[in-house]
Symmetry: C2
Subunit: 316 residues, 2 copies
């Protein structure tokens, strides 16, 4: 018999379900549409059905636990979905109780940013780094912290909002209602604004051919690779802003690794190099020596592997 | 027999030593001059002598452990003083090994900012608040973090440098070599600069009667109480700067309490009110609801009580 751990990655449109071994390998996987109109209980039943089918097809697997990650606010201790994001109808759903009742194994639940961080810590670019920050650069700036080898949740399970650290005491308005947040500069909308500003200033850039609201981070990366100076400058600035916010965190938390993932991070060293340099220059010297900034290594798989890791690593 | 815990507060000029009960009460205390020229081993022997004398005078006390706090960089796990501050000759001193050999009880060592935080958490204004930041406003801005009910040390025991969080991406130079740090604005030198700036701008203030380098935070508090508008404005601004840095920390750490102590904090609500308001306004709404900013309650005793708490609270 091979002990396996089910990982469940609840997205706005699809739920991915996989069986993962103790070494973090996805053995088999499947997916179902989220169908959020059906209500949480039905979707949880669908998930259980998929897990049971995957187990039936592999009779030498024995299920040891289920971990699930999803966007939204989670009461981690009680295992309750307080407020789902995208999965609009989900409020106060005791998901852990429902799943553990149906499957009779330990179940853990956490938000998707924490789950991605745990995946990189357990099996990816953060292995062995007990004080780790995972930053996911996408439409927004997501993050999860591993402190002392464990996911950090804070006093009411809403810690880790790195993207809303303010890099300017007065600054650009952010979707959170405040202003000056990192996300307002290096999230997708922030990047669009930076490009628009450059175009208004009369700078020549191939990015002016793309409609401002359609412009994606990937377009900036492609333009930079093709030699567009404005695109390069914006990625450099993005890295510097990221590095400044990382320095402010590192001064307080004395981290050992930062792992950067997500779409914007595909620009690679164009962002990571200035981020690393700024982080080191602006951290206190002793805390600058022991930290590095590296790209994530698990990509899209982090959702499944991280969810399973919630039960593979017992202490989380 | 009454179980007691020795607290040792190593300062630059005096070493305070006290026997503390499990409830955090100082039962007896004494002090010896630091005499740092005598070398660490001799001073540690002096400390042991004082502890033994205090025990002899109280034959119903039984020593359960020794905790010591001091300024400087400490390897907490190994119990080594890596580099003392003020106690200039102290480098790589295995203080825990020496003291536990001489007294044959468990010994713990930590830096003074952490020790003060632990005192307020265990027996002061942070009781029951498992996610707490203690800020000490003095010549510099000291701090210690309690996360998940334990002192937080980070990956190389140099976490918690809250005073060096940057409130401006470009800003005033700081003693740490970087710029824009909170301490460069609300530490004693920062406050002196703020006053000088106001005087240069032609503002009328009673503070102009004090020589710039002699001006202490207390003078600003006294002037503010006497109705000096510039002094009030500077304390207000100090609170706002503090609150902004607290918001940036709270966004990431989702704290439940901030305890403010030290000389500058004697200005009380003149600083704490704007700090509290700014913290709440600039934190994400959910993380603003569960945090408060309160004055420290143990004052000067925090050094002794906190040191003893290192061994009273076993998990630290």
């Amino acid at each position: 018999m091979i002990p396996v751990y089910a990982g469940v990655d609840l997205g706005g449109t699809t739920v991915k379900i996989g069986l993962v071994d103790k070494q973090g390998n996805i053995l088999v996987e499947n997916k179902v549409p989220s169908k959020s109109h059906e209500g949480a209980e039905q979707i949880l039943k669908n998930i259980v059905h998929v897990i049971q089918e995957l187990l039936k097809q592999n009779s030498d697997y024995i299920l040891e636990g289920v971990g699930a990650g999803m966007p939204g606010q989670i009461d981690v201790q009680k295992g309750i979905i307080l407020e789902g994001v995208n999965l609009f109808a989900w409020r106060n759903i005791p998901a852990v109780a429902i799943l553990s009742h149906l499957l009779n194994v330990p179940v853990k639940l956490d938000n998707d940013a924490n789950v991605a961080a745990l995946a990189e810590y357990a099996f990816g670019a953060g292995q062995g780094k007990d004080f780790m920050l995972m930053v996911t650069l996408g439409t927004g700036v997501g993050s999860g912290f591993i402190l002392d080898g464990k996911l950090y949740h804070g006093s009411t399970d809403i810690a880790g909002e790195f993207g809303h650290m303010k890099i300017f005491i007065d600054g650009e308005p952010c979707t959170c209602g405040d202003y000056g947040c990192l996300e307002a500069y290096i999230g997708t909308k922030g990047l669009q604004k930076q490009v628009q500003k450059k175009i208004k200033e009369g700078c020549q850039t191939s990015l002016s051919q793309i409609s401002p609201n359609q412009l994606m981070p990937k377009d900036i990366s492609i333009a930079a690779e093709a030699g567009d100076e404005i695109a390069k400058e914006i990625l450099q600035k993005t890295g510097e802003y990221l590095g400044f916010a990382l320095a402010n965190v590192n001064i307080v938390l004395n981290l050992s690794r930062v792992v950067v993932g997500g779409g914007v991070a595909n620009a690679g060293e164009c962002i990571l190099k200035p981020a690393r340099e700024t982080l080191r220059r602006r951290s206190l010297s002793a805390s600058a020596e022991t930290i590095d900034v590296v790209p994530a290594s698990l990509g899209e798989k982090a959702g499944l592997i991280g969810a399973a890791s919630l039960v593979i690593l017992k202490e989380n």
